[in-house]
Amino acid sequence: MSESLLDIRDLEVTYPIKGFGKQPFRALKGVSLDIKPGETVGLVGESGSGKTTLGRAVLGLAPVTGGSIRYREQEIGHLHRRQRRALSSEIQVVFQDPYSSLNPSLTIEQILSEPLTARGVDGKAARARVRELLGQVNLPADTADRLPREFSGGQRQRIAIARALALDPKLIVCDEPVSALDLSTQARVLDLFIEIQERTGVAYLFISHDLAVVRHISHRVAVMYHGEIVEYGDGDQVTARPEHPYTQRLFMAAPVPDPDRQEQRRADRRRLMDEQAAADEQAGAGLGAA
């Protein structure tokens, strides 16, 4: 198997809290994760679990206070702005909110050509590349002259994907890219992600709160809880036969879109919760005795 594209070891991110004597907030408490070229690693967790912080740390948007992030053997956790800019053709991003991730006052062409012209591509070549990118995400060529507000959420997310692809990156951090989309749009955008990956060999760090979405797109899945990864393994195993109690709870909590099977799932969940509560009690009693 090929070596890792991205290798995260014992990563810690701590946010200072404003105010004298306040404890800083540890968003990540020693997280380790690796991504191979062309692979999708899904990152599942609930709000506040630190999954978005992990993505932002990889992008250089969060303060790394410990551990290492290595991209192709190069340490990228503490880069200067200038060195970071050089990485922009390697690591890109698609954000959750397709409404605030596109500047409302720029046309789609201006948005898409921005990363190109920043690298010195001349105007004509950039325009041609923009047409090509729009084709790649299945948007008509006349999209280029329009403003973001003329597009629906799904279309905006395609534009954001096109922007991420502009510099041919090797890794795209996808932070909840389909959470704000409708069900049918969500399925189409996910298929677009897979299609692009199969064509270009780009790797994804795919962050989502939805186990089903992550199962659909990920080769491997990591589950985050309170700033730590509690389970990490093949997507198949983690999303269908989870081993960690938290992943089990997460798995059982998602309602099944079938009334009869959901009734069964509900009963299973109740049983699991009771079992885990009993196990916790025993562990607590054991600790108390010791």
Binding site: P140, E150, L167, S184, G201, S218, A254
Partner: protein
Amino acid sequence: MTELVAPVPVVSPTRAKTSLMRRLVRNPVGLTALFFLALVALVAVFGPLLAPADPNAASLQTILLAPGEQGYVLGADSAGRDVLSRLLSATQISIGAALVAVVVALALGVTGGLLAGYYGKWFDSVSSWLTGLIMALPGIVVLLAARAVLGPSVWLSMAIFGVLMSPAFFRLVYASVTAVRNELYVDAARVSGLRDGRIIARHILSVVRAPVIIQAAMITGIAIAIQSGLEFLGLGDLSVPTWGGMLSDGFTKIYNAPVLMLWPSLAIGLTCISLTLLANALRDALERSSSTRKRRRAGKVNGAPAERAAVVGHADDVRAAKGEVLLSVRDLHVGYDQPDGSLTQVVHGIDLDIRKGEVHGLIGESGSGKTQTAFSVLGLLPSGGRVTKGTIDFGGLQLADAGENVYRKVRGKRIAYVPQEPMSNLDGAFTIGSQLVEPMRVVLGLSKQAATERALALLARVGLPDPKKTFASYPHEISGGQAQRVLIAGAVSCDPELLIADEPTTALDVTVQAEVLDLLRDLQAEFGMAMLLVTHNFGVVADLCDRVSVMQSGLIVESGPVRSIFNHAEHPYTQSLLDAILEDGEPRGALAPRKEVSA
């Protein structure tokens, strides 16, 4: 299954810049102000060339000539100087000096605000401290002191005034920049490899541009007023003609030639008023605050489909509740009045029956009209929205065109509501307890003590671990899941016949969602209430509902018992929604070994 043809939006491409100018010109006030200011600008540039005489040429023969005499169009002043020539020359100096003040204020305030807002850190602290200091200085005193030290130059005093006014720009820019700095598109630009200078120029300046222009217009007006004030007090340079200086001169002769005061007063007053009006018109144009809502009955109706397609109905199965119909909606149309008098229809005629004790799911994608339907039952459509046709029968009461007095007997007594965003539906200024107790006292007429007891019992019933503590907490002290439990407690406090829940779990984490769904199911059984559950999540429908109606573009396309819909969906739209569900999908599997695509 990659069906990937994106529909082309129908909106024609418009550019924000051109339309701003057009909107400004369309506003009569803005147009007049703009016209007058253009005139002043022309005079400021060409005034000295147009002046018939030297503005400083004094003559004993022409002292205090009346307007029109001896070819002096506006007369002569106390030193026999031609008033028209002085006015024309003074315009250049007064406007020029005011512009000096604005340019200095802009240069300091905007640059400082951009740097402090974007980079923060030490520059932020230092510049905030400096602006605080400047704002605390008494402006007039500083200007008087500067005059005493530096001499009576109008340019110098206006430059100093510019420094004094720079905090106005600093604070404005600083606030806009700190707001926009955390926008995702700025993060995206950083990840795209843009330099900071470029990010500021492209993404940040465009946001602060408009408010800065508005502020500049206001500040110019203030600078002219302050400058004239100083001149009027006789603190200006007497060798150059200025509006304030002319005013001062006229004031000394107010009994002999009162008309001398008229011209500079007009110039100062009209210019200041025009600048303020222009700033207001600009703000209106930018905020697009059109408040014309005239209801025209014969208005055009937009967005209505040509004809109503038949609803795919499913026969009741054994499990479907066979109770009495509690809520009966027939041919409901909901529309929004547009500023131009037309009507945009969002719900195009739907029928909906909810029986007693039944949980009815209303499922659809965004924009399908499901929330509009729920709000029209509650009589809570946003302003401009109304039921344009159809009936809403709730236990014999007609709600479709009911007034507030009918709703007062229904809302919070017989129909309760659980919203999507729990946090924004609690008032941060009051404790949870007072927000629960107050409605119970007003609506149910309970005493304070009885209401408190009932609130505590309800908080315990909805599964909050420490009801007393939650009762005394403020909304920011509890989590989203707890807030939703509190709202559910408030909703069932009146023992309602119908509970309308609009995406009650969408804002919650999955594990919390499961708990809230359990709670809703238990309460529904306990109180025997009917429920209208608006959602986009088929899992939630499968968990709670007895019946489902599927909405698409303002119409119900399929309706029936929940099992029938899930197992035998007939409408293509329902089928496509069910196909899009990922829950049952296969996992993608491990990464297959592949050849390197690029070296």
